[in-house]
């Protein structure tokens, strides 16, 4: 038996490792250094031109993008040249990393920088770094905190949506007639655009004057069926519309989970004399917890982005009762051209979401481990 204990990881998985010729290695290094130098020079020219240090440069950022693409390609080729087989392996990950840097990490960092500036598009002086001023403004902004409070209410409604979705999933997992048909029908709302739902339901079906829902409500004796006229009824109406779209999403996740449950456990419970209620609470529900938590967390993420229905139907009203963080940021940015402050609000919200979801996931993991 061969003793591999003294071998390095590369040696263990190093089948096919080859010797890289010095000339090839040098060419690879040269290529990467040249591309890096080009990228730095192009970037430097643009920055110096923008800051007025030199009198020439590029009209826009496009040359920097081209230089970055060139540098990325050179880096990938250079890895193969300098590291041989290991370089080839790096190509499995490197393009994705470079793409993520360009499309996620850089925009996030740039957004953070913009969030630390005073940038009103109408301002005569353009963008100005203002440190933590926007942060301080945010803490005194009643509209932002009102929107955050509304988000707590909207997120709590996810629990009710989950309950309804679970019931529907149980129904569709049972041996009912036309089961496949109902599965498709129940999924239809999720296929609709929230903007379309805003108009079809919020501005037509629930319309105070001619909407069928309002007419029916009058028939039932509600004299003034204004679904968006007072804070709580408006919140409920928005929640119902949003739930109508997303319950099918939660339902389909739960349905998949239900169908993956081990049948023998349920059958054993039945043999042991458990009734349906006991089977559900003692077996189905605990076994479904991992799927349930995934579904709830995904739904919360969707809910935290709630904006389109609110913008279209209530514009955040009445009196900010349905305003969401996203719809407020949208207004701050779009109507007031307040790019710097709007970006800071978005960044803060992102951090808040990450923290809340991390805590939630940690709590959920512990809870699931204990139950299962």
């Amino acid at each position: 038996m061969v003793d591999t204990s003294g071998m390095s990881g590369h040696q263990i998985h190093g089948a096919g490792l080859e010797h890289v010729a010095e000339g090839r290695r040098k060419a690879g290094r040269l290529l990467m250094r040249a591309a890096s130098a080009l990228l730095i020079i192009v970037l430097l020219i643009h920055v110096l031109n923008l800051t007025g240090v030199i009198g020439f440069g590029f009209e826009n950022w496009r040359p920097i993008l081209f230089a970055y693409v060139l540098w990325s390609v050179a880096l990938c080729v250079g890895q193969v040249f300098t590291r041989g087989e290991l370089g080839y392996r790096a190509l499995f990950v490197l393009p994705a990393v470079l793409f993520t840097v360009a499309m996620v990490i850089f925009p996030t960092l740039f957004g953070l920088y913009v969030g630390l500036t005073d940038w009103n598009l109408s301002s005569f002086d353009g963008r100005k770094f203002n440190g933590l001023d926007n942060f301080r403004t945010m803490f005194q902004d009643a509209f932002y905190w009102n929107a955050l409070r509304n988000m707590v209410i909207f997120v709590l409604a996810v629990l009710i949506e989950y309950g309804i979705a679970f019931m529907l999933a149980l129904l569709l997992s049972a041996q009912i007639r036309a089961r496949k048909f109902f599965r498709v029908v129940f999924l239809l709302p999720f296929m609709l655009s929230p903007v379309a739902v805003s108009w079809m339901i919020g501005k037509s079906l629930l319309e105070f004057r001619f909407g069928p829902a309002a007419t029916f409500a009058r028939f039932l004796g509600w004299e003034s069926p204004a679904f968006f006229g007072a804070p709580w009824i408006a919140r409920i109406s928005i929640t119902v519309m949003d739930a109508w779209i997303f319950i099918p999403f939660v339902m389909i996740l739960l349905l998949a989970g239900l169908q993956a449950l081990p049948r023998e456990v349920l059958e054993a419970a039945k043999v042991d004399g458990a009734n349906a209620w006991q089977s559900f609470w003692r077996i189905t529900f605990p076994l479904m917890l991992p799927v349930s938590l995934t579904a709830i967390i995904l739904r919360i993420i969707f809910k935290l982005k709630l904006a389109d229905i609110v913008i279209n139907v209530t514009a955040g009203g009445p009196g900010g009762a349905t305003d969401t963080v996203t719809s407020f940021i949208f207004r701050e940015y779009r109507d007031r051209s307040n790019v710097g402050y709007g970006s800071l609000l978005a960044m803060f919200y992102l951090v808040l979401i990450i923290i809340v979801l991390t805590l939630l996931l940690s709590f959920a993991r512990r809870r699931v481990e204990r139950v299962t």
């Binding site: 009103n120 598009l121 002086d125 105070f208 004057r209 003034s224 204004a226 955040g316 009196g319 051209s337």
Partner: protein, 554 residues
């Protein structure tokens, strides 16, 4: 008129007026060609009139909303001024980008039809950028701030002139365009300084905005309501309110009343934000209180100190708070689009301040049910007016104070400076803009749903409208409300300062909270004032003050 017809007439060396006559009269081309006669001046004038009457009959008053075919027909019939300045195919290969609106399926939708014959004749092609009203301001501001102006022609309101012309982004209007569109025909308030910056002219007006007062004639002429008014101790005779005090009283009175079995409501407020444009509707309630005849300022002091929290504006806000409980139950969720198109034109409510679209839609839109029972006037006045310099309410010897709100100062067509470096593109862009701002075409746009209202002196010739099929009383009443607003000596004209919609948008947010009862009128107005001060500081107070004073003609 078809291009081929035009060429035949040109070949016969007819005058422009004969050309117009040829366009208007049935089979006139053949007749003129056959006779070879040259029409005299009187005949030419008659042809001009004939063209305008024919235009107003497309598709005809009371036969429903015009379609794209109608818009193209109008564009074709009004092409003659373009032909006088541009050779056929002169702009072959030129592509222009046009940024405009798609509100109510109007604006750009019409422009496309109007410009189709122009494209066919000149050879140019137009690429369209359609924007919803609420997206307009951010799109424009982004383009300016990031120096990515990607359009050659823009449909724009005068309030944005500070942002665009003030930053050197617009192209100066050539002489030949001024002649082609006959700028002297504009109503006075649309002449300089509106449309100009540093003495240069940039704007082709296609609209003349003012809020006027729309009311239901059947409600205010009803004998049963008059009797009930007297019985309930209403002040004076039951009739159309002429002051905001009367509007308030009528609104409270009508709550709970019925007419022909339908629930009645009085004035319709629009408390729901509308991308900043909703602020105009508070302003229309406030101008009679806030615009003193001796003071050109009404929105800000001369040093940009907001007046929004002075007693005049607070009184207007309080009026809305007081009126809302007497309006339809879902009024808190009504924006101006709802009040005009889903409520007033559809028969809900008896009084509404809006742009002239309500009048032009009343008898020409499929959605209107009030065509025969709608009347128009300038905005209501007030028994007293706030004097910002003394801090007192003045009662004028002349009677109530009227101050029509020239809300938005009308849409205009502007050509961007980026075409200046290319002479062919420059001429093409200005030619397209001039076609849209043409004298005859604008008459049609004033008469039918278009998003635009009358803005030329020639639009107020009632005979033309009656010849086109309008009822004389109706149109006389409508046009009087417009012209009396435009020419009012105490008209409240909006400041053309950069970022004006930021002020309006912030105000909308605070007003929504006031109307929902979160805090009182004064408290809310103070919050708006503080927010406005922050915007002024952020944009640059010194420059804003200078531009504000310039916009007031100081």
């Amino acid at each position: 008129m078809r291009v081929s017809d035009y060429n035949r007439i040109v070949a016969m060396q007819q005058t422009r007026r004969d050309v117009l006559k040829g366009a208007a009269g049935a089979a006139s081309v053949a007749a003129l060609g056959a006779s070879g006669a040259l029409a005299g001046f009187a005949g030419s004038a008659a042809a001009q009139e004939s063209l305008r009457v024919e235009l107003l009959r497309i598709p005809g008053i009371g036969v429903g909303s015009p379609t794209d075919a109608d818009w193209q027909k109008v564009g074709e019939m009004t092409l003659a001024p373009t032909m006088a300045n541009v050779e056929e195919g002169e702009f072959q290969g030129v592509e222009l980008t046009f940024l405009g609106l798609n509100n109510q399926n109007l604006h750009n939708f019409l422009f496309r039809g109007f410009l189709k014959p122009w494209e066919a004749y000149t050879g140019a092609r137009i690429k369209w950028i359609d924007l919803a009203q609420a997206d307009y301001n951010p799109r424009l501001q982004q383009a300016i701030a990031t120096e990515t102006v990607d359009f050659d022609i823009i449909e724009m309101g005068a309030p944005f002139e500070g942002d665009v012309t003030g930053k050197g982004l617009a192209s100066e209007m050539p002489e030949w365009v001024m002649e082609q569109i006959d700028m002297d025909d504009y109503v006075d308030y649309l002449k300089a300084p509106v449309g100009t910056w540093d003495g240069k002219t940039y704007r082709i007006s296609v609209d003349g905005d003012a809020h006027n007062f729309n009311y239901r004639t059947d409600v205010f002429a009803d004998e049963g309501l008059a009797a009930a008014w007297a019985e309930e101790g209403g002040a004076g005779e039951w009739g159309v309110p002429r002051t905001w005090q009367q509007v308030q009283a009528a609104t409270k009175f009508l709550d709970g009343k019925k007419l022909n079995g339908f629930d009645l409501h009085g004035y319709l407020d629009a408390p729901k934000p509308w991308g900043g444009f909703g602020f105009y509707f508070l302003a229309s309630r406030a101008t009679a209180y806030a615009k003193h005849p001796d003071d050109p300022a009404w929105l800000f002091d001369l040093d940009m100190t907001p007046r929004i929290n002075n007693p005049a504006w607070v009184r207007a806000i309080q009026d809305i708070i007081d009126a809302l409980p007497h309006q339809p139950a879902d009024q808190l969720n009504a924006d101006p689009g709802t009040t005009a198109f889903q409520q007033f034109l559809a028969g809900t409510g008896s009084m509404l301040a809006w742009w002239g679209d309500v009048g032009s839609n009343a008898r020409t839109s499929d959605g209107s049910v009030i065509g025969d029972v709608v009347g128009f006037d300038i905005l209501p006045g007030s028994d007293d007016v706030y004097n910002a310099s003394t801090g007192q309410w003045d009662t004028l010897a002349s009677g109530p104070n009227y101050a029509p709100n020239m809300a938005y100062i009308g849409w205009g067509i502007y050509v961007m400076a980026r075409v200046d470096s290319d002479p062919v593109k420059h001429k093409a862009a200005w030619s397209a803009a001039a076609h849209l701002g043409g004298k005859d075409l604008s008459l049609w746009a004033s008469a039918y749903p278009s998003g635009f209202q009358p803005y030329r002196n020639s639009h107020f010739n009632i005979d033309e409208w009656t010849a086109g099929g309008y009822d004389g009383d109706f149109i006389g009443n409508y046009l009087a409300s417009q012209t009396n607003s435009y020419n009012h000596p105490n008209a409240a004209i909006e400041p053309r300062i950069p970022g004006i919609f930021q002020y309006y948008s912030v105000a909308e947010d605070e007003l929504a909270r006031i109307f929902a009862g979160e805090f009182g009128a004064q408290d809310g107005a103070d919050r708006i004032a503080a927010a406005w001060d922050r915007i002024t500081d952020q944009i640059g107070r010194e420059r804003q003050v200078a531009l504000y004073r310039a916009s007031l003609g100081l």
